[in-house]
């Protein structure tokens, strides 16, 4: 077996470098093509089976921040996002209070103390054929 010449060694090294470069570049390309942007914020929330929420219940939800009400007239929901600047309001004995700027709302979401000037937003609630509650925030 003859020893490789200097030229053969350079050829081999060059081929190796180019193959490795190609592999790296392909890896980068695959990573780029594989990139998935963050999904748009959800506006539809499956709250699970209807029977989890008894008649007369008021259920605080954390995601999305809302309170789900089950009354004789059906399901309804109030957003817990303060209409002043968007902080999440907290439930109090007689309604809701914003921990950021002290706006207060009654149990129906109406403003009783500013700086907020609008009632808490009512959210749409629907029951699916499968008996699940869907809350819409859009």
């Amino acid at each position: 077996m003859t020893e490789p010449s200097r030229r053969d060694f350079l050829k081999l090294a060059r081929a190796g470098f180019l193959w490795l470069s190609g592999a790296l570049a392909l890896g980068g390309l695959f990573r780029f093509l594989d990139y998935e942007p963050n999904p748009a914020p959800k506006t539809e929330f499956d709250l699970g089976p209807v029977d989890q929420f008894a008649l007369g219940s008021r259920t605080l939800l954390s995601d999305p921040p809302a309170v789900l009400l089950h009354t004789e007239s059906g399901f309804s929901a109030l957003s817990l996002t303060c209409t002043h600047l968007g902080c999440t309001v907290e439930q109090t004995t007689d309604g809701f209070a914003c921990p950021c700027h002290a706006s207060r709302f009654d149990a129906d979401g109406k403003v009783t103390h500013g700086p907020a000037s609008q009632s808490l937003r009512k959210l749409r609630v629907e029951v699916t054929e499968a008996g699940n509650l869907i809350l819409y925030t859009d």
Partner: protein, 426 residues
């Protein structure tokens, strides 16, 4: 010869391919070292921003400005989607201080925020802009009068031009003080040496003059706090905090650093090195009572005095009005009080923002002669009063002058008269 050229060509192409590979490896390594972007979509804007990728360790600036609601860009500006520090910071407002008065309207303004209506008590920026702390109107008028540039002490100029269309003081506007229009050498010197002590101006160089500008001058603690990042990545004194619990040290950053020498129009720094609250609070020549150094400035002085009331005032004396009698009354009169019957009373809002006291409907608090609530002072059933320190949360009780052996003259109510008997020795 041809063989040598061929070998050289091989060598060159091999080196080039090696360089290409090294470059790719470097890019891969550099990319792998980049932090994973942290996305935040603040409720207020609904627009994603990536500031938390690098700044997730900053403390919440205040309970009223949670980052989930406000994000960073609403107040600070900057390129919300950039991950490169220089690019992200390139369009920030006011460097690390978006409350600088040159940008405060964009950063902190808005009808729902701090430039709302006076009726809603949301005209904070207007109040600051027209306040004596911002205009320096009294000092400018006084110096111009002293050196013959005007014939009375009426304020005509402020550090910046300012207007007040609904004036209650009769001063509708101040023109910007232009040094180039002044010919007197002493006024020139005043302009050169003495205009750095107001909310618009960057402080003089040097640790002794360290302070913030704009809202942060009062509301962002400067002392005893870790440094925060600066405009170009360097550290800066102060902390990522906004508070209404303002310690006297914050006030002293401007108000107790020394004195002006009117002969030379220069600022003479304090020569003593105070190490205790008693020494630090006042300069050696000052007289004061126990409460005047045990409490913090904001315990007695109202926000109207400190921040302005929305009107342009001629000088400090016309806005600073709280006296000893405001809290202690006189021999003939008890201090003014007000029983809280309206849940929307501003006192509740102020107590909410600095919850050192649990105010309730039916509580009786003190009010000043101009009707400002001293919401941290409550009247007790036994005829005494209870004060809670706004910065320290300490409780103090005190009694009114009425019914005591105080020898005051009813017409002499300035603190200097009280100091004749009640001054602290040091």
């Amino acid at each position: 010869m041809r063989r040598i050229l061929a070998l050289s060509s091989f060598l060159t192409s091999t080196l080039l391919s090696a360089s290409f590979l090294l470059t790719l490896l470097f890019v891969w390594w550099w990319n792998s070292r980049q932090p994973k972007p942290i996305e935040l979509i603040p409720t207020l804007t609904g627009q994603p921003e990536y500031c938390l990728t690098c700044h997730a360790d900053l403390p919440e600036i205040s309970a009223s400005h949670p980052v989930e609601t406000f994000g960073c860009v609403s107040c600070h500006g900057g390129e919300r989607l950039a991950l490169d520090a220089d690019l992200a910071h390139s369009s920030m407002r006011g460097g690390a201080n978006p409350s600088d008065l040159s940008v405060v309207e964009t950063s902190c303004g808005g009808s729902n925020c701090h430039s709302g209506s006076e009726a809603d008590d949301r005209h904070h920026i207007q109040r600051v802009m027209t306040s004596v702390q911002s205009t320096y109107a009294g000092a400018i008028a006084s110096i111009r009068y002293t050196f013959g540039a005007q014939t009375d002490l009426n304020a005509r100029f402020g550090i910046a031009a300012v207007t007040d269309e609904q004036t209650r003081t009769g001063i509708q506007s101040l023109a910007a003080f232009e040094l180039s229009s002044e010919s007197n050498p002493s006024i020139q010197k005043f302009g050169e040496e003495c205009l750095t002590c107001h909310l618009h101006a960057e402080p003089r160089e040097g640790e002794d003059y360290a302070r913030q500008t704009g809202c942060a001058a009062c509301h962002t603690p400067l002392f005893d706090s870790p440094p925060i990042f600066g405009e170009n990545g360097g550290s800066q004194r102060g902390v990522h905090t906004l508070t209404t619990a303002i310690s006297y040290t914050q006030c002293n950053a401007c108000h107790n650093r020394g004195n002006y020498d009117l002969r030379t129009m220069t600022f003479i720094e304090r020569s003593d090195h105070a190490t205790t609250r008693l020494q630090n609070y006042y300069q050696p020549i000052a007289q004061f009572t126990l409460c005047e150094y045990t409490l913090d400035c904001v315990d007695c002085h109202t926000r109207g005095e400190a921040m302005g009331d929305g009107d342009i005032h001629n000088d400090q004396a016309s806005i600073e009005y709280v006296q000893c009698k405001t809290c202690h009354g006189t021999l003939d009169e008890l201090p003014r009080t007000k029983t809280l019957t309206d849940p929307n009373d501003i006192a509740f809002t102020l107590a909410f923002l600095n919850p050192v006291i649990d105010l309730k409907l039916g509580d009786t608090i003190l009010v000043t002669e101009r009707g400002e609530p001293l919401w941290n002072i409550r009247a007790l059933p036994d005829g005494t009063y209870e004060m809670v320190g706004k910065a320290t949360s300490q409780y103090f009780t005190f009694r009114p002058v009425m019914g005591t052996d105080c020898e005051q003259n009813p017409d002499e109510q300035e603190s200097r008269y009280c100091h004749e008997c009640h001054a602290v020795e040091r």
